[in-house]
Amino acid sequence: MKPVIVVHGGAGTIVKEYEEGYRTGVKRAALKGYDCLRQKGAALTAVEEAVVVLENDPHFNAGYGSVLNEEGDVEMDAIIMDGRNLMSGAVSAVRCIANPITLARLVMEKTDHMLLTCKGASLFAKAQGIPEIPNEKLITERSRERWKTNLHPGSNPVVSQIGLG
């Protein structure tokens, strides 16, 4: 079988100023995953490594660069699934970690559960030795500006995102 990897960086707003950054980001992620596959790595590891690249890239809404909730805070979700055995792991409303996808893989591999959320996910991350980082480290200036704009009277973040991801 010839290996294949496909990645996406979301279907949200494309700011023209950053368009090249989006393209470069998904290219880097795809090549990272493909490099893993070319070295006979598992599809599961390839998709995790590709998503880690995107989570670490501030252009994308995941990990560093995540959008903010109504309180101006980051809450992140992630899922990973292995087609060999239908094993899956996920986390939701997780804070203060850089790479939720890696935590999702640990949920899959180290617990009998499919999904850990919020405080439970954080406690599990700590128990697994995942470094805790201040949530502020995940917030970009662009995310903060978007959040502030959406707080203005009359703004409607739901309407403004129609037609986007």
Binding site: V4, V6, L44, N69, A90
Partner: protein, 134 residues
Amino acid sequence: TVGAVAIDSEGNVACATSTGGLTNKMIGRVGDTACIGSGGYADNAFGAVSTTGHGESIMKVTLARLIINHMEQGMSPEEAAEAGLKYMKTRVNGLGGVIVVNSSGDWTAKFSTKQMTWAAVQDDQLQVGVYHGE
């Protein structure tokens, strides 16, 4: 939202999806990403899917599993992705995007939104796109 699907040299497939969610979302709001069959699904028998878009709509139609179902019935990744996104648009007026690979290594990146950033590598050939037609 970001995601990846892959098939390795052993024919195993996998998917991964990660997100910060919706801008200014309610505290505790969880969308499709963390939900199996919505944010992603992978089964060696058929393929793997990762989704992005309006999370509540994706959850209503369990978009990733829906696309897998279409491939199970014989559709190509492209046909299955188009059928899944069309169903989500007509049934719940939801928009989104998907990346799909099947168990033969055929793949697609499709979206009903205005754009979706994607990239793919097969046979050492890198492809990338943002807008329809790329």
